[in-house]
Amino acid sequence: MITRPDTALDDRPSVTGPSVTGPRKDNTLVTTPPPPPQVSTPTTQVSPQTTWMLAVRDSRDRAAFAALFDHFAPRLKGFIMRSGTGSGQAEEIVQEVMLTVWRKAAQFDPTRAQVSSWVYQIARNRQIDVIRKENRPMPEELAEDLAGASGAEPDASQILAVEQESSQLKQALSRLKPDQREIIERAYLGELSHQEISTQTGLPLGTIKSRIRLGLDRLRHELKELR
């Protein structure tokens, strides 16, 4: 149950969007300081990626999966090759990751993760399993019992808010100075040790963490049984 003031939703019409800085291309560094808050188009609909993912999860929709493939496969390949993996092996991993997206779709919870976060986790697991030849220890899954245990309908405003926070995170990343951005990329590519990752990664994660926490609160009763 949401008890905190829902600022991300209440203030949506006044949230700063990327459009105020003019036309943007992906990977273009914005060198000007962030503009003051201005009105931008409010988010009222979930992104195509989330819509596709939910169609895959709930209806095993192959056309939606094909659309997800078109979006994520080239990005996954670029991501995997950034760490020095060759094109051939990268595509093998892309194939495994996309098949896992299909097979484990039931675990996707849009109230806690944007599709890209979920795909990122699968990709890193796959890369690590290939390198270490052993499975990375994973937290116990909470999402599986969602429908049965809580019976609660997913909260659309929560899904939208998670999406909005994620897209602001993406914007924050593209606004960073190249050297700062390089450090964050290397951290999330798994190239930095925990000693090398300072607590200040430079990405503002506080808001999305609070938002995810609200999504997790719906599962709280499950944890009560555990502890």
Binding site: A73, G78, E91, S117, L142, Y188, H194, L205
Partner: protein, 211 residues
Amino acid sequence: MTAITHHTPDALLAAYAAGSLPQAYALVVAAHISLCLDCRAGYEAHLSGGGAVLETVKPEAISEGLKSNVLDLLDAPVAPEPIYRRTGVYPGPVIAALKGNPPKWKSLGLGVRQSILSADQNGSARLLYIPPGQTVPDHSHNGLELTLVLQGSFSDTTGRFGIGDLEIGDQDLEHAPAADPGAPCICLAATDAPLRFSSLVPRLLQPLFRI
């Protein structure tokens, strides 16, 4: 039940999300996240950070045929992966490390027992069983030691640690944790180096017990 007061530091959550933590530490962090909603939220926030990187890296063109390969494989049968669920006081990741079996306890003397889950040159993970009131020999470590309480509680010079609490011990921490009265204390502990004991006898025993 008391609230968790000792959490996983953010840098460890980031490294865990990115998959750069050594296996023994990753096990402890996965177990802590299984018990702690706050740290699960922190971990999932870092997955969002990773997702942002995934969305903004330079895409690479995909070979012709990969997509149809994948689409053809959607219905291919796959062997189901075992799902390890929490059993007793042990969270899912610990049960996974035990491969679903109960811990194999070995005595360390004075009622203290351990069950080694993994040990190699990169570190080791073990379960420790400490009777109420019993002190674990004074020891320090070469690297980082992560200790997660699964049952009971222990106290040392830095404070009291109850169920779900994670203690981060670095090489400056020379401590003699003592299980509090009440239930025996069961912990999951991971190091990236063998423990050093301060007194002679435990040090002589060390190669024998791999602690």
